[in-house]
């Protein structure tokens, strides 16, 4: 029994937890929800064990280092953080529907790590640039930030679903939405799934189609069913506030992550900022969330606008995380094929 095996099993445990959260929500079965919580908790404990075992195994191999050094390890830690943050939120907000929107993200991260070709789950020795005490601080803070933004993304999506179509409509968005969705999905599949643009478009189109079929069906859902499904969501005010709290949390950790990276860069390369694509994209992400915080605190933005900004912010997070591998630069440690 080695760490890779445990982590493959955890993928299924997270998947099961996510499925049960959705099931408990759709069929209104609180007992199943409780089961989901236990399974998510077991998954998280197993995830922790997997990470620790991997750490120990690397020492047994004589190349001991913290398990935060390549794409596989970062995805495993990303899932771990999402699960942890979600479990804390579940306790605080006392609502399990959020699990239906966040645990699947943890599952997808693990499944992607396991299935995507080019991601190896082998324990690799550290290259000289990564041999630094800053590795742990930098990776952990960045990924806590990313995971908090992922959770904020899930909560913002819930907010938008809960609000549905109401007076707070932003006219031009109706035209822009499908196009934006397609462009984001195209980028998403190009970065994560396919190696060329044609393939990406072939993947992106059905995703958009499924999304709009879902929206179409949701709008034609019987009123009482719709009401029942939405009634289990937390109140919009709570969702708005929770999403905001998660964003704050993410913003603090993204800031620490960028700063620890800068200090590290200064001790490794002799400069704290070099406009390397990864650095730049993390700054772009920081700018987007800084915009959101200013708009909210100083301009009183609430609700949908903030939720949309949160979606855009998470897209920037994903691009910082994965997309930068498509661009030239120094920061290729987390890239595919490594």
């Amino acid at each position: 029994m080695n760490s890779s095996m445990i982590l493959s099993i955890i993928t299924f445990v997270y998947g099961l937890a996510g499925f049960l959260y959705i099931f408990a929500w759709v069929f209104k079965k609180p007992a199943v929800g409780q089961l989901a919580t236990w399974i998510a908790l077991i998954g998280w404990v197993g995830n922790t064990a997997g990470i620790l075992m991997r750490w120990v195994e690397s020492y047994q191999m004589g190349i001991g280092h913290a398990p935060f050094s390549n794409l596989y390890e970062s995805l495993v830690f990303f899932a771990w953080t999402i699960a942890l943050i979600y479990l804390v939120i579940e306790r605080k907000a006392d609502n399990r529907v959020i699990g239906a929107f966040t645990m699947p993200i943890a599952f997808l991260a693990m499944a992607y790590a396991a299935l995507r070709t080019g991601i190896t789950n082998e324990i690799q020795p550290l290259i000289p640039a990564l041999k630094s005490n800053w590795l742990i601080a930098h990776v952990i803070t960045c990924f806590i930030g990313y995971a908090a933004f992922a959770t904020a993304f899930g909560i913002s999506a819930m907010y938008l679903i809960k609000q549905g179509r109401d007076e707070e409509q932003i006219g031009w968005l109706d035209f822009a939405k499908p196009l934006t969705l397609f462009i984001f999905m195209l980028l998403f599949s190009r970065v994560l799934l396919a190696n060329n643009w044609v393939m990406s478009a072939i993947i992106a189109l059905p995703i958009c189609l499924v999304f709009y079929i879902g929206v179409f069906l949701a709008r034609r859902m019987p009123e009482d069913l719709k009401k029942r499904l939405l009634a289990m969501f937390p109140e919009p005010v709570i969702l708005d506030e929770l999403g905001y709290q998660m964003t704050l949390f993410g913003f603090l950790f993204l800031s620490i992550g960028i700063i620890s990276g800068a200090v590290w860069a200064n001790s490794a390369w002799g400069r704290y900022w070099g406009w390397d694509p990864k650095e730049t994209w993390s700054l772009v992400t920081w700018f987007i969330y800084a915009t959101m915080l200013h708009a909210r605190l100083m301009r009183g933005w609430r609700g949908k606008r903030i939720a949309y900004l949160s979606l855009v912010g998470f897209a920037a997070v994903l691009f910082t995380y994965f997309g930068v591998n498509l661009l030239p630069g120094l920061h290729s440690y987390g890239a595919l094929g490594q």
Partner: protein
């Protein structure tokens, strides 16, 4: 007329101030910086013009070049955007600090009982004890939770006010100040510091470095010698460690010695040397085997570049002249080779080629002595990144302030509570109300918790 001019000058200044004091400008600037920064990640920066020309074609090349897209982050307009953002931050902060200052630095905070009684965030309950009794019980509870507290008599009983975290309203100014520090630190670095690189072959030293952003060299004022360079590999073939042994000489005297690896630079007189790259150098010595045609004896000798060797049996003198990566023999590339000059005792000198891949190559010459390379020591140069940044401590101070400031701004708040106790016969009616400038949901929970705590208190506690 004149006064009119001054007035309009003033109003222009006032308008400019107003523009920079606006948060809308902040939002526009942040989003503009975000989008324009992306361009620089899509177009590789600072490459040769010819490469750009080939990729983009004439028209786009000229457009991009004009817009500064090839060195975007140092273009005048990008710098102007950053400068505007910092100006925006400074003006906004000054503009708002005045009113915040007045809130923070009051000697006697005022509490308005009527306002608390109207607050939504309020918990009412009834306690069995008498109001006077409760006063003594409640005061320490509030004193423990709130740094500032005060008890006032009211018509029906008393009110205790508690307050804390007034100063946390300064958090946002700390964050804004940290951004200004980053800019100042960056400016100090770019004016007083430098960035460059130097390649030093093993055993040799350098007194100057090549600057990165210009063609100029910079004299260090001391000498750096690379005593040794080593590269280790894992079994997988991935690099494990790059290590350079460096010695610093000041006026001919060794003053410092250190082995540097990636992530562990050498620092001397504010200048840092980072292990950055390495590469092969032409070897300057080899072990050569001289085989005498007459006797068949093999003489093994160490040959050093440009140093004459006398071959035994009076076979002549040999000078190792150079090493080439790609030697050419009658139009054929025969790979790496040493080239030397053999001067027989009596006779004219001949050039001898000693390709590493073909050890018996020299037999073809059919001379009195046949020479072959038995071994040679590979030599490396170490590539060092050299930088000096006197602004780094200002930047680091900015980093620390930014983290501390963000924490204060978003995770701490200015909280006030009021406990209003009124006699109601034998019993007391207790109202707990609270406000905070941030995180109001959390404050609601706090008020409920505090109310529960106060109800639970009895004289026995």
């Amino acid at each position: 007329m004149r006064s009119d001019g001054i007035a309009s000058d003033l109003s222009a200044l006032a308008r400019l101030w107003k523009l920079f004091a606006s948060v809308n400008l902040t939002i526009v600037l942040l989003l503009t910086l975000a989008t324009t920064s992306i361009i620089g990640t899509l177009i590789p920066q600072n490459e040769a013009p010819a490469a750009y020309f080939e990729t983009f074609g004439a028209v786009l090349y000229r457009t991009f070049s004009l817009l500064g897209f090839f060195d975007l982050y140092h273009s005048w307009w990008f710098r102007a955007l950053i400068l505007m953002l910092v100006a925006n931050i400074v003006v906004c902060s000054i503009d708002r600090l005045q009113s915040t200052w007045k809130i923070i630095f009051v000697r006697h905070p005022r509490f308005n009982l009527a306002r608390y009684r109207q607050l939504k965030n309020r918990a009412d309950s009834i306690h069995d004890s008498d109001a006077e009794q409760l006063k003594a019980l409640y005061q320490p509870v509030i004193a423990r939770r709130f740094r500032y507290h005060r008890t006032e008599e009211t018509a029906e009983g008393f009110a205790i006010y508690g307050e804390r975290g007034r100063w946390t309203r300064l958090g946002v100014y700390i964050v804004h100040f940290s951004v200004v520090l980053l800019l100042i630190g960056g400016l100090i670095g770019s004016i007083l510091g430098f960035e460059g690189y130097v390649n030093i072959p093993e055993g040799e030293s350098a007194q100057s470095i090549q600057l990165s952003n210009s063609n100029q060299k910079l004299q260090l004022g001391f000498e750096v010698r690379c005593d040794d360079f080593n590269v280790d590999f894992y079994d997988t073939g991935a690099p494990k460690e790059f290590r350079s042994s460096l010695t610093i000489f000041k006026q001919g005297k060794a003053v410092m010695q250190k082995d540097i690896i990636v992530n562990d630079p050498l620092r001397y007189e504010g200048i840092s040397f980072f292990q950055s790259s390495y590469g092969p150098m032409p070897p300057n010595e080899a072990i050569l085997n001289f085989t005498s045609k007459a006797t068949g004896m093999i003489y093994s000798k160490r040959a050093i570049l440009n140093t004459p060797l006398f071959i035994a049996e009076d076979l002549g003198t040999f000078v190792l002249q150079k090493y080439t990566r790609q030697a050419n023999f009658r139009g054929h590339n025969i790979g790496e080779a040493f080239v030397g000059l053999l001067t027989p005792l009596n006779g004219s000198a001949v050039e001898v080629m000693l390709p590493l891949k073909f050890p018996s190559f020299d037999r073809m010459r059919k001379g009195n002595v046949f020479i072959a390379v038995a071994d040679y020591i590979p030599r490396y140069y170490t590539g060092l990144q050299v930088s000096k940044d006197p602004g780094i401590w200002v930047v680091y101070a900015g980093f620390i302030l930014m983290i501390v400031g963000i924490y204060i701004t978003f995770f701490m708040s200015h909280q006030q509570v009021c406990i209003d106790v009124a006699r109601q016969g034998e019993k007391s009616r207790i109202m707990v109300a609270g406000t905070s400038n941030k995180n109001k949901l959390e404050m609601q929970k706090k008020v409920i918790k505090l109310s529960e705590r106060l109800i639970g208190i009895t004289a026995d506690d």
